[in-house]
């Protein structure tokens, strides 16, 4: 799971796997929190380009990181979110706390 994260200055990019359930949420939580420990990270961006499944464990993991970051004045965002995952996020109310972008990967690659 270490390979899923990339540090760019004070921003942490996290590539979410194909399915974000309790099993994978725990793994991502582990690697992200290790990076947050030294306090230099100000924003975490979760990239959902490969992700087709998410349940409430994913919501819990994102909200937990949001809480940690907001104590430090930081922020959390989700990008490349599919319609299905957008629906799950809206149902949970998490879209009120984090920035969500649905822009497709296809557009991103052509830039």
């Amino acid at each position: 799971m270490e390979e899923a994260i990339q540090k760019k200055g004070n921003r942490l990019m996290v590539t979410i796997p194909g399915e974000l359930d309790h099993h994978y949420a725990e793994q991502i939580k582990g690697v992200v929190d290790k990076q947050l420990e030294n306090g230099s990270i100000r924003s975490v961006v979760f990239d959902f380009r490969n992700t087709t499944f998410m349940d409430s464990s994913g919501i819990g993991m994102i909200m937990g990181r949001y809480r940690l970051l907001s104590y430090m004045g930081g922020s959390v965002a989700a990008i490349h979110v599919s319609d299905r995952i957008m629906r799950i996020m809206q149902l949970s109310g998490i879209h009120k706390f984090i920035e969500i972008s649905q822009e497709t990967v296809w557009n991103q690659k052509r830039k």
């Binding site: 359930d21 309790h22 819990g60 799950i88």
Partner: protein, 147 residues
């Protein structure tokens, strides 16, 4: 005679089995010719029930989870059972955002998601005996089942 089809699986309450179990249920449900959204709804609801069994029922100890599925005309019934801790107050447990484990980043949305994505959710539980989550969903209503 009523046209039905049933299956049952039992597996260890390890988090690495969550993906396998929800896909097994979804694959069985394809006999009803559901649309993609119905399959996704089913997978999410089943995943929530299994996660509850692992995290709350067995509190991360490894024991058996049992899933029973029954297909009838255009409807799937799924029962997810653990033989663990049980739920003290079912009504409270089903309230959105209620969780006994906020420190473990549990969102408290598990039952809310099951209810959002299935037509009917019933919980039977007794402290010390375990929990069964019974869920029903109509699907594939555009087609003839078991063809």
């Amino acid at each position: 005679m009523e046209n039905t089809n049933e299956m049952m699986i039992e597996f260890d309450s390890r988090s690495c089995n969550e993906g396998f179990a929800r896909v097994a249920v979804a694959a069985f449900a394809t006999q009803l010719n559901p649309i993609l959204e119905e399959v996704n709804d089913l997978k999410t609801a089943v995943s929530e029930a299994i996660t509850n069994a692992i995290v709350h029922g067995y509190e991360d100890e490894v024991h058996t989870i049992r899933i029973e599925c029954k297909l009838t005309d255009h409807e799937i019934t799924v029962a997810v059972t653990d033989y663990g801790k049980g739920i003290e107050n079912i009504e409270k447990a089903m309230e959105p955002l209620f969780t006994t484990k906020p420190e473990a980043d549990r969102s408290g949305m598990g039952f809310a998601f099951m209810e959002a994505f299935m037509d009917k959710v019933t919980v039977r539980s007794a402290p010390g005996k375990g929990t069964t989550v019974l869920m029903k969903k109509k699907m594939g209503c555009e087609s003839t089942p078991f063809d």
